[in-house]
Amino acid sequence: MKKAGEVHALMGENGAGKSTLMKILAGIYSCDEGEILIHGQTVAIRDTIAARNQGINFIHQEICLAENMSIAENLYIGMELCSGLFLDKKKMLAITQEHLDELGMDLRASDQVSSLSIAQKQMVEIARALFFDAKLVVMDEPTTSLTNKEVESLFAQIEKLKKNHVAIVYISHRMEEIFQIADRVTVLRDGCFIGTEKIREIDMQKLISMMVGREIGQERMEVPTGGETIMQAKNLFNRHLKQVSFELRRGEILGFAGLVGAGRTETACAVFGIDPPESGELILNGKNVVHKSPRDAIRNGIVLFPEDRKKYGLITSLSVKFNLTLPVLHQFIKGIRVDSETESRIIERYAHKLAIKMAGVGQACAGLSGGNQQKVVISKWLAAEPSIIILDEPTRGIDIGAKQDIYDLIKELADQGLSIILISSELPEILKLSSRIAVMHEGRLEKIFETVDGITQEEIMYYAVEGKDI
């Protein structure tokens, strides 16, 4: 479906399946069914080297370069040139430099990668992808860390590649780029093919309506509208955030929508004291507070359920019991006296409330299923009896049945008067559960919908994709 000499854009919401599709092309994942045709022939791509031999090259979103090596060494990893027994460093340097010059990149082949800026590293990634004899280049959000000037030079490269009959798959969230560079665009949603359109025959409204429209499993839930303001964030600013301001009311669920990297998790981290803001204020119950570490935030009644629960939420090698009680040790350990009765009571109460399926509270968390691990994380925070809960993608990687359990729990907590910030990439989830919705775009909080009634996925997506400039 990709033609030689064409730029084909691939779009879709977070988790629509763009990256998965590309990883199959790259041979990182294998597909269960279906086939890949190149020039009309079925090819099997078992690993990345097979992909490269087919002339498919990748520019990944995250930079994967060996930091301690030079640009030339990075380009030649796995295929170093030798003269006799030894590396032919001179030749490799010379060819690399020629290549960089050809691309119009202001880089020296002998520079160590660790000394480069992020944008420059991205350029090296691009140079590496174009280094091999490519028939198809897949670019996954290549411009996220580039300046306008660098984007222009990347686009100039893309034009040049097109002339050389190289096909390009261009994955991006940025509408203006898609309209500037792409010839055709394909939209994916929930892993399904939605449609392919010529870019000249489509406008932004149409594109957004293709991207959204995931099925809402159920009617909107009756959520409380919230009372008085409990927390206020004013102009939070750090390297990820640009003057983020919002307020949170008692007993409401404030949904945070936006694309990956829009700054939602970063806002949560700033409030929770993991990545404290450089400037800006946080006002809690009318008092100015500073959270320098999660410890401060927890003391003030704020807890965060991190997105990556294995990395941040659980100590998987230790028992359910240990994990559950970690934030509330002070409730039953005084000095050297452990009140085991209180400890058991806490565990009883929360482990059973959420019906965690386990062999016993002594079981290590590593042996639990994803849904049950998530329940342990939630239980441990509920035991801390917080007043504000921040949930970062609480249903990621969880099956549908367990999802509904978690929705019910979130609603129940809000009904009890807890204030909840719900970060989610699934718009239906946001629409279903939120009292109000905040939309972020590239580090800014672009829009707060004061009511959810009558708001469509398209409207939210519009702000998430475009910001408010256009």
């Binding site: 993991i274 570490s293 999660p294 990395k311 941040y312 100590i315 998987t316 230790l318 240990f322 934030p327």
Partner: protein
């Protein structure tokens, strides 16, 4: 009243059962090796020899405790050997200078705590790897010992040193009493306090511990201070036994401490191990060394045997873990 005591007994029994279960491998090894040694060399089971073994173990046991605290939080402390030497030198020099016995003891222990605090402080500020930082500190701390003594061993005669290093209460050497006391304190600290749980949390998953509101810096500081303190006490005892402070003493003792910890079930990845296990680790190493001495096995063979024991122990441990996880 009666019900309460019953319950307590039940708890103690449970604790004993779980202790034996957890350490069944090393307990078996100790029993088998002791039996074999008793048969091969009857001197082994004499009271005099067993007393001797217990006294020899003390130094390594105390160092292993410190090492274990560092390993439990996912770090390492290579300074313990140097702290032994320097704390001993400071202790003897202080007494020689006329400082009261108790004060000299206190100063040396304080020195140990300070070195630990320095290591933790550097780690907290710089985020450098613990291996490198404590390796550098190892040299610095040993240097302090040389400066204090002017590079030569210092000797004094003092009857109180004899009581501390070589005396007995109820037929048990005083150093052993001290180590029993420290063992009890540490078992309580690790199992009964918030700090103890935080230690396991930090070692198990530093990020998750931080997210749960644990102060990594404070846990690290305290763990290293305990390590320094234990090492200093070991140094004082050793110096008292020899009536001298020797700056070149205890070189390489950190590797014995690592060996005893690992034998006792402490994992290098952090968050896993117990004080009770380390006691057995140090005991096993002590018995093996004593047995090889009694059997007149040359010292270089002894070193190799120690290496083989460590390798064997961690291999068995990792095989067990693989099986469990599958």
């Amino acid at each position: 009243m009666k019900k309460g005591t019953n319950k307590r007994r039940g708890l103690l029994q449970n604790a004993a059962v779980s202790y034996i279960k957890k350490n069944v491998g090393i307990l078996l090894a100790i029993v088998i090796i002791s039996t074999v040694l008793s048969i091969l060399e009857p001197i082994f089971r004499t009271t005099a020899n067993l007393t001797n073994v217990s006294r020899q173990i003390v130094t390594n046991l105390l160092l292993s405790y410190g090492m274990t605290m560092a390993l439990l939080i996912g770090a390492i402390d290579l300074t313990v050997g140097s702290v032994v030497a320097s704390a001993g030198c400071i202790f003897i020099t202080a007494i020689g200078a006329g400082i009261p016995f108790a004060a000299a003891f206190f100063i040396s222990v304080l020195f140990g705590c300070t070195t630990g605090a320095c290591c933790a402080g550097i780690l907290n500020v710089t985020n450098l790897p613990p291996f490198i930082v404590t390796l550098a500190m190892q040299k610095i701390i040993r240097g302090i010992g040389y400066i204090v003594t002017n590079g030569k061993p210092v000797q004094i005669i003092d009857s109180r040193l004899k009581v501390l290093g070589s005396g007995y209460i109820l037929g048990i050497p005083n150093p052993v009493w001290i180590s029993i006391l420290i063992t009890i304190l540490l078992v309580i600290l690790v199992n009964q306090t918030k700090f103890g749980r935080h230690v396991y949390a930090v070692g198990g998953n530093e990020d998750a511990a931080r997210f749960a509101g644990v102060s990594i810096h404070s846990v690290r500081l305290r763990a290293y201070m305990i390590s320094g303190c234990c090492a200093a006490i070991a140094g004082i005892i050793l110096a008292a036994r020899m009536y001298s402070g020797q700056p070149e003493l205890a070189t390489g003792y950190e590797s014995d401490a690592i060996a005893a910890s690992v034998l006792g079930g402490v994992r290098f990845t952090g968050g896993n191990g117990s004080i009770g296990g380390v006691v057995l680790g140090a005991l096993l190493l002590g018995i093996v060394n004593n047995g090889m001495n009694l059997l007149n096995i040359p010292s270089y063979i002894q070193t190799m045997v120690q290496g083989c024991i460590i390798l064997g122990a961690i291999t068995i441990d990792s095989l067990k873990r693989d099986k469990k996880e599958r």
